[in-house]
Symmetry: C2
Subunit: 197 residues, 2 copies
DNA sequence: CGATACTGTATGTGTTCGCTTACATTGTGC
DNA sequence: GCACAATGTAAGCGAACACATACAGTATCG
């Protein structure tokens, strides 16, 4: 049994590069030639790692979400004891939301969502995102109970919407950095509390 | 001066067809051949009406927003005297939000936003959308003043975010129709009032 | 060693795309 | 009715694309 396969490791080492490429170029302009060049390999090597370009795209979407979630989890480990986890996340995102531009790969995915595989991948990613946020909101509210006009599951979706519109505004230059911070902070807090205070 | 030009009329008559095509197919799959076939003309006729495919896309985006805004204005004229205009819009959108699928052309645009023309068009469209919503929120709050924790301009952006996440959920099948209605209704009202009640 | 599967390089290939060109037909103002 | 621009039809063109093939080098095992 000569030369054990390094396919798995190779896939993992190239995924960040693919994710960056799709993020910067979108799906259409991220040609297989461009992907291969950025990876420093020939095209057919990519085709030995994934069956087709769509599979590379789908893998990149999942990688990007994993990356984001790990960033948040690391943040929560680092910073302890200054408010609830949800508040820390909100403060962090008000500062840094979208600065990696990774939301662009989601936009690219949404415009390819007529494809069943892409749609299913996005559905799973959004479901995970929602579950994560829901957990944060619920534990925040348990720590500081209040009259809750806004159910936590809806609040979690609304937070996703808030992040999305913030990303859109960033992409289009429709809001200044300061206004985007204000938007995330103010609306985020109201959604988090489910009430105004 | 023989045969006056009907270019302007032709453009206007084909715009809805182009908008539908881009909406259904996205930018990439809406090939010029497909656009021409749906319009019932040859490709080069499209090229006599617009300089290139991108211009057709940009015109379609603007048409879609005009169409939506006119729908809302007609709604406000039709239904009188049952709550504020903003409340009527909210109730209407909770029922019908996104059912034309026109949001898809916005997704397509966002994934082509690295192009300056596309980005500028989207920026203008979002600015008009924000201005429209802001006007509705302000006049609603004037009619029924309340302690406002949430500034109206931020509320307007948040409403756009709410609509966007609702569209995403529709596209991906991530929420049932009933849950989407509940989301728009509950969060929408809270954003509109800038407070809970 | 030496067989063998893994890894990399170079070069097609059929198709599709955005866009163009050539040319025939039509309708209007003088 | 005739000049002439507007309108339509048909064909094609270079480039780019996703993906494939052919083959040389290489590391690992018995």
């Amino acid at each position: 049994m000569p030369r054990p396969s390094r396919i798995r490791e190779k896939r993992e080492s190239l995924l960040p590069v693919l994710a960056d490429a799709f993020t910067e170029l979108g799906y259409r302009r991220a040609t297989t030639a461009a992907l291969a060049e950025r990876c420093g390999v020939q095209e057919n090597i990519l085709y030995r790692l994934w069956p087709d370009k769509k599979a590379m795209f789908v893998a990149a979407i999942e990688y990007v979400y994993d990356f984001s979630e790990q960033t948040w989890l690391r943040l929560l480990e680092r910073r302890r004891g200054e408010g609830s986890a949800a508040q820390k996340l909100l403060a962090f995102e008000a500062e840094h939301h979208g600065e990696f531009g990774h939301y662009r790969i989601i936009f690219a995915g949404l415009s390819e969502a007529d494809d069943p595989d892409v749609r299913e991948t996005l559905r799973r990613v959004y479901a995970r995102f929602h579950r994560f946020l829901l957990g944060q909101i619920v534990s925040h509210r348990q720590a500081a109970p209040a009259p809750q006009a806004l159910p936590a599951d809806l609040a979690a979706w609304a937070v996703i919407g808030l992040g999305t519109v913030s990303n859109i505004a960033r992409e289009l230059g429709a809001l200044s950095d300061a206004d985007r911070r204000r938007l995330i902070h103010t609306v985020g807090r109201q959604l988090l509390e489910g009430d105004s205070r």
